[in-house]
Symmetry: C2
Subunit: 287 residues, 2 copies
């Protein structure tokens, strides 16, 4: 059974701290998300603090995450990154992404990075993110970062996956911010104005302060400026454990159930519709 | 039974040529799309030529459609318009739309106009469009125009609903065209550069000609310029009957089945996920 393989792979990876085994387990999950639910270890995984990082392309999210991870590691916290990469039509971009992102943590066993291409499987991508995140929790990471590009559908779902959502922008993002769904602002706990050495940064911080209730940080991720403050804030949010109460709301679990159920239906539907040959056959859908 | 009501209403509306009865039948369908499949008249409806008209907001689609209808009417062809109006959060915009659109055909029994607001029911909206279109075919319109705004998901679905897809743009649409999904170009049979008296129109036609295989028309819908040529092209496409062969492809029917099935599942899902209370409950989704 595929789920028995996954169970063994996950348990062995966790016991040995085997990152390569974990990577293989995630691939199995991505191939068969719904079947993975048979693995009780995933359903009963301990909870890691999940940080969602979203924002327009070019906001420097990968660099921000890489620098945040250095801060987490300096305090003995392990971290995994799940980067949802919508630029990838098949998985080409995602595989490339795995290699070029977070290069500086390549040899650190306490850091794990995985990209997922969107491959056109809309609801299915969310389902994969949910279950892969459970696998990372089972493995035992202290912090899990879910990176998404804040355009399209993904940024709303991140509120349900993550315990804390940070939106990263740059001073030039004015137009992008206008174009971002209003939802992004409602879901964000933290706002990051990155590349804050550029003109317009101060103005942007002021505007965000006047319109948002969220915490705002100015950073220059590339040279580490503002990163310790941001990391401190996130680590302290993790320690406060308020997120565990929020995670216990049925709403969160039900959003996950909805994404998983949608994926199951998507798989079922293709089998069913292939049998539709005449208009009368449409009435079969009632059954 | 609700479907018996719908059946009676449809039959009586068709017999009497009762447009108001048809409008009530469409409302019943929109409220219970899946239940409507019990009405065999919808599944065995005759086929009308379905024209999809899409394009960015401000391209003048409603005016274009109104002028096209005048051309169709002058040749004794009846026409129905199904306008998918994503701007409407509830149905406010849609109801308003019904009133202000196509005002000049208000007293013509051979013309029917209906707007549908997207009301956030994504797949459900497609399902409604499919089944409402069947109802319009059953009623016996010669031509059915499905109008959608060419942003987001809708423009890809229109290829499966319509027999001929026309994309309308204006000379200022350069950026919108860039932002439109590549899919729009692949699906379009006809390209309309409307408001062609504006600067840049000629240039746009030339650019489209060099990049697209589709037929291109320059129009000034507001004063009728270019409309007879466009109408002739569409009427002649209708007469050629090539679209009936394309409609017979299982692919078309299966796309409809997929939208309907997705809607059925969407209705089922909310009941199911409400029962999810603990992580273990997620395994129920497997059943």
């Amino acid at each position: 059974m595929a789920s028995d393989n996954l169970k063994q792979l996950l348990k062995s990876a966790k016991t040995k701290g085997d990152i390569a085994g974990l990577a293989r387990a995630l691939s199995l999950i991505d191939k068969n998300v719904i079947g993975s639910l048979k693995v009780s270890e995933l359903l009963n995984a301990p909870q890691s603090f999940r940080i969602g990082i979203t924002g327009p392309p070019g906001a420097g999210k990968s660099t921000l995450i890489s620098k945040l991870i250095s801060q987490f590691r300096s305090r003995q916290l392990t971290a995994a990154v799940l980067a949802v990469d919508p630029s990838s039509p098949i998985t080409k971009g995602a595989i490339l992404g795995d290699r070029i992102r977070m290069h500086e943590h390549m040899d650190d066993e306490g850091v794990f990075v995985r990209s997922i291409g969107s491959r056109g499987h809309h609801g299915g991508l969310s389902a994969s993110v949910y279950v892969m995140t459970r696998a990372l929790e089972y493995f035992g990471f202290d912090i899990i970062i879910i990176e998404t590009v804040g355009v399209g559908q993904t940024e709303v779902e991140i509120m349900n996956v993550a315990d804390c959502v940070a939106v990263a922008v740059v001073p030039e993002s004015g137009d992008s911010i206008q174009a971002m769904k209003a939802g992004v602002f409602e879901i964000s706990n933290v706002f990051i104005v990155n590349k804050s050495d550029r003109p317009g940064a101060e103005q942007m911080v002021k505007e965000l302060e006047s319109t948002l209730g969220a915490k705002i940080f100015s950073t220059e991720a590339i040279n580490g400026k503002g990163i310790p403050e941001l990391a401190n804030y996130l680590i302290s949010a993790r320690e406060k454990q308020e997120w565990k109460k929020q995670r216990a709301f049925p709403k969160r679990l039900q959003a996950e159930a909805a994404a998983l159920f949608a994926e199951k239906m998507r798989q079922d539907i293709n089998k069913k519709i292939a049998k539709i040959k005449k208009p009368r056959d449409l009435s079969r859908l009632l059954r």
